[in-house]
Amino acid sequence: MTQKPESVNEETKSAAGKYAVTMRDVHKWYGKFHALKNINLNVEVGEKIVICGPSGSGKSTLIRCINRLEEHQQGEITVEGIELSHDIKNIEIIRREVGMVFQHFNLFPHLTVLENCTLAPIWVRKMPLAEANAIAMQYLERVKIPEQADKYPGQLSGGQQQRVAIARSLCMKPRILLFDEPTSALDPEMIKEVLDVMIQLASEGITMICVTHEMGFARTVGDRVIFMDNGEIIEENNPDDFFLNPQHERTKLFLSQILNH
């Protein structure tokens, strides 16, 4: 499972097909600020990746480059075999296959829970309303809140809202799911209900890339943990070795900080 970053450079383009995501020598700047430095990462189909690292280390930037919420300036990113380019059509095709769950849920407050879930299938996948409703209810049941379907997001607790957000992503039947600190904005008692849903999802073969500091989650479902600092991937390993036997000083320092928390 463990992949050394250097080996990525030898990958030929045709090999991109068997990966869900490949990133080669990716750099990203915000103005003069160098936010991603020479990122190399291959994510296999069905793999569960956990990304951690201190605040401001570039974790969000990295996963947001995968669905082009942020644009990289150098290097090459492919998603499901398609290279990300400036072509907006290309980007929209990729975004259909890549779901994203945000720290602050980003549900649409003027739509009901059900409408939140059916919006993209109807307008992006051109699905008939009845079918979209049926699929939405199926996923709302999966995240255990079918009874809230007709409420507005503002009427739900944070944990419920995040589960709706997950269901909303799933309704597009994405091949890849990106999570950006999905539990960081939640009260402690609600974290578990969201993690349980994510763990169950992980058992279903979808490719997941999660920015999270939830060690329990990382050890239960993660195939690989990636540690970032200062815009660089410092270390990657399987979860057990990563947590028990960190190699780099910065990783050790970071782990001691989150463990003592």
Binding site: N67, F102, A120, V124
Partner: protein, 314 residues
């Protein structure tokens, strides 16, 4: 109060007849000139067309304003035809006797200008507000230039431009209806204000809403129509209605370029020696008309805000 009703005279052929009957208000002037106040100089034989337009207006507005109207979906589609049908009814041609637009006047003129302005300034304002935030420099510069220019010039100036200067720019021989020019100017004026009100609403939408829409693969226009604009418009309702009310009342400015709105008719009536000195009655009557329309808009705005309230907790 006594002056208004108890001591008032409601009939009579002139001011002197009024005062002979009662010591209070002389409403007879309104009674005698009611047709003038309503239709301006629209030919009496063709007034049914104005009435029919009003009926159509009501049938168009109801499904737009209220959700619980039966067959609303179909009614909304038919509503698209309203401006064309009404324009045809009022101006004539194609089988109807043509009526020159300088014969329009009174409340009918107010409604024509007010409703055209309101109906067109909202979509144009939305486009300008989106244009102002566009990533394409040409569109952005055009929008900003347009908005700032129009906002920097008083409406009266624009109306003067409409009534006189445009003729210099048009090739000789080409005539361009004065009312149409006024309609365009009033609409553009309101659009600039509308754009700024809506821009305020757009800026209040959190970045996360755009990101969620983008991450689903929605196109720009779908994201705007389904997610951003409904929320931005809701926030902007008070400002939008404020602009509507302002526009509606500003229609009285057309008096300056010689169009006779209710205020103009009122002044003309007072110039009649039979009715001199009754300015209180005349202006009160016009004021009540405007107050009822504007208060109605304000109440509807309140109703809409309550209906759209979905942030129950936060």
């Amino acid at each position: 109060m006594d002056w208004l009703f108890l001591d008032a005279a409601f009939t009579g052929g002139s001011r002197d007849e009024c005062s002979a009957k009662a010591g209070g208000a002389c409403w007879a002037v309104i009674g005698e000139r009611l047709n003038l106040f309503t239709y301006g100089f629209y030919p009496a034989a063709e007034r049914w067309r104005v009435n029919l337009s009003l009926v159509l207006l009501i049938f168009t507005l109801f499904p737009i304003l209220f959700e619980k109207v039966p067959y609303r979906k179909y009614a909304l589609h038919i509503a698209v035809a309203f401006p064309f049908v009404t324009a045809w009814l009022l101006v004539g041609g194609l089988g109807l006797t043509p009526v020159e637009t300088d014969q329009f006047g009174g409340f009918m003129l107010t409604l024509v200008i007010g409703i055209t302005g309101i109906g067109f300034s909202l979509p144009i304002g939305i486009l300008l507000a989106l244009g102002r935030q566009s990533k394409l420099p040409a569109i952005q510069i055009f929008s900003i230039g347009f908005i700032e220019f129009i906002r920097g010039v008083p409406l009266i100036t624009l109306l003067f431009v409409a009534s006189t200067m445009l003729n210099y720019f048009l090739p000789p021989g080409v005539t361009f209806d004065l009312l149409l020019r006024v309609l365009i100017m009033v609409t553009l004026f309101a659009s600039a204000y509308m754009a700024e009100v809506i821009r305020g609403g757009l800026q209040a939408i959190p970045k996360g809403q755009f990101e969620a829409a983008d991450s689903m693969g929605l196109h720009y226009w779908s994201a705007m129509r389904l997610i951003v604009l409904p929320q931005a418009m809701k926030i902007s309702i008070p400002g939008i209605v404020n602009t509507f009310i302002g526009l509606y009342k500003d229609t009285t400015l057309v008096i300056i370029i010689g169009l006779l709105d209710p205020l103009g008719i009122g002044r003309a009536s007072l110039a009649d020696t039979k009715w001199t000195g009754l300015s209180t009655e005349v202006y009160l009557f016009v004021a009540i008309f405007f107050f009822i329309s504007c208060f109605g808009m304000a109440r509807y705005s309140q109703h809409l805000e309550n209906k759209l309230e979905t942030d129950h907790k936060r």
